[in-house]
Symmetry: C2
Subunit: 242 residues, 2 copies
DNA sequence: GTCTATACACCGATAGAC
DNA sequence: GTCTATCGGTGTATAGAC
C-alpha cells in the first residue's frame, strides 16, 4: 500500500541509486496536485493546471500517473499512512499509565490540532474525498479516526471503572471531546481562516477544551480545587476578538 | 434575496395563478440540482445529468437559469434564507429568560441536529461551497453561524456575571459546545453514515452534550445533585454499538 | 526523459423548429 | 414551453519527435 519508502521526509535526498530525478519529479507533482486538489477539488482541477504549476508538460504527468484518478489515489495513499495516530497514542503512554486524564486529553488535542494546522492541504483534501465518497477516505476513517475513537473509549471506560469519571457512555464522551477539537480546526482552516470570530493558540485551545470536558462550565465551588497536579489558573486568557 | 415565496413547502400546489407549471418545474430543477451538487460537487455534476434526472431537456435548464453558476447560486440563496437561526433563538426566549442553562443549550443543540438530519443535502452543499471558497458560503457563515455564536457568547457572558458559570472566555465555551453538536452531525451525515461507531437519537445526544458541557465528566459527588428542575438520570443509555 | 502536437470525448450554452 | 441539433471550448489521454 505504501509505495513511497520514506513518507515522513518531505524532500528526500538521493540515497542510493542514480535515477533519482524521476522520483523527485514524481513527488513534486504529487505535492502540487495535493495543493490544487485541496483548493479546487478533484473535478475542479485540470491536469493542465497541475502540469503548469509543477513546471512540466502535461504529458509528463501522464507518464508518472496513467490516469488522473491514479494521481489522486497516490496522494491519499501516501498521506493516509503517514498520518497514523498510533505513535501519537504511544507518546501519551506515560500519562495513560498515571491515569492523568488532563494530560491524556490535552495531549491528544495538541496532536490533532497540530496536525491540522501544519497539513491544511491534506485536511481539506480529506473533506473533499469524504464528500465525493471516495473509498480511500473510508480507509483513513478506519485507520485513524476509528482507531483513535476506540482508544479513547477504552481509556474512558477504564477510568470509569476506577471511579474517576462519571458513568456516561464512553463513546459519547469521546465524541464530545473530539468534536470540540476537530470543529475548532475546521473553523480555523476552512470556515473562518481570517479568525474573525476567535483566535487562540493551539496550546490554549487544547487546555481549555480539556478543562471544559473534565469539569464543565458550571461554577461549583467544590469542583474547582480538584486539580491533578499543577494548579493551572486559566483566568486571564489572551484572546484576540474582533 | 429570497426569490421563492414559500421555501418551507416541498411541493407547492398551484395556489392562485395559472402559469404555475413554470415555477413548479423551476423548483424541481433546483431540488434535483441540489441533490446532485451535494453528492458530486459543482464541477462534478453536469447540466446534462441535472436535466435527465429532472425529466426535462438540457435546454430547459438553461431557460430557467442562464448559467450553471446561476443555478448553484439560486440553491444557496434559497436555502440560506430558509435556515435562519433567528426564530430558533426566539423559541428559546423563555428558557433564556429563566436562565435555564440546560434548556438553552439542549434546545439549541436539538435545533441544529434536527436541521442537519432533515436537510442533509444542504449540509453537504455547504461544505462543498466552503471548500471551494464560494462567496455565498461566507453569507451563510455571517448570517447563521456567526449570529448563533454571538448570541451564545452574550448569553454565556451574562450567566457568568450572574455567577452561574465559570469565568472562561465565553467564545471558547460557545465553540466547545457548537463543536460537539456540529461534529456529531458531521459524523452522521458525512463521515460515518452507517453509524459503525455510534448511533444515538438526536434527543439523547443533545441531552448528553449539554450535561457534559455544564458539569464535565469528572465524578464529583458534590456536583452531581445540582439539577435545575427535572431530575434526569442519563444512566442506562440506549446505544447501539457494533 | 521531456517535449509538441493532436485525437477524441464531453461539457456548457445557443439557435431554431414544433 | 419544450424539444432536437449543434457549436465552440475544454478536458483527459496518447503518439511520436527530439
Amino acid at each position: 500500500m505504501n509505495r513511497l519508502a520514506d513518507s515522513t521526509k518531505p524532500d528526500a535526498a538521493p540515497n542510493g541509486g542514480g535515477r533519482m530525478a524521476g522520483e523527485e519529479r514524481r513527488q513534486q507533482i504529487v505535492r502540487v496536485a495535493m495543493r490544487l486538489f485541496s483548493q479546487r477539488g478533484f473535478s475542479g482541477t485540470t491536469t493542465k493546471e497541475i502540469a503548469r504549476e509543477a513546471g512540466v508538460s502535461e504529458a509528463m504527468v501522464f507518464k508518472h500517473f496513467a490516469t488522473k484518478e491514479e494521481l489522486f489515489n497516490a496522494i491519499l495513499d501516501h498521506k493516509a499512512c503517514a498520518g497514523d495516530m498510533g505513535h501519537a497514542c504511544a507518546a501519551l503512554a506515560e500519562a495513560i499509565e498515571r491515569g492523568d486524564d488532563r494530560a491524556v486529553f490535552e495531549g491528544l488535542a495538541q496532536t490533532v490540532l497540530h496536525f491540522h494546522e501544519h497539513d491544511t492541504d491534506f485536511a481539506r483534501l480529506l473533506l473533499h474525498s469524504a464528500l465525493q465518497g471516495h473509498e480511500l477516505f473510508q480507509m483513513f476513517w478506519q485507520r485513524n479516526v476509528r482507531e483513535t475513537a476506540n482508544f479513547l473509549r477504552t481509556y474512558i471506560a477504564g477510568r470509569q471503572q476506577a471511579g474517576a469519571l462519571r458513568d456516561v457512555e464512553p463513546m459519547i464522551i469521546a465524541r464530545a471531546f473530539v468534536g470540540m477539537v476537530v470543529y475548532h480546526s475546521l473553523v480555523n482552516v476552512l470556515f473562518d481562516p481570517q479568525r474573525t470570530l476567535l483566535d487562540i493558540p493551539n496550546e490554549q485551545a487544547a487546555r481549555e477544551f480539556t478543562e471544559i470536558l473534565l469539569h464543565g462550565v458550571v461554577k461549583t465551588p467544590a469542583a474547582a480545587p480538584v486539580k491533578t497536579k499543577s494548579s493551572r489558573k486559566a483566568k486571564t486568557v489572551s484572546v484576540k476578538r474582533k
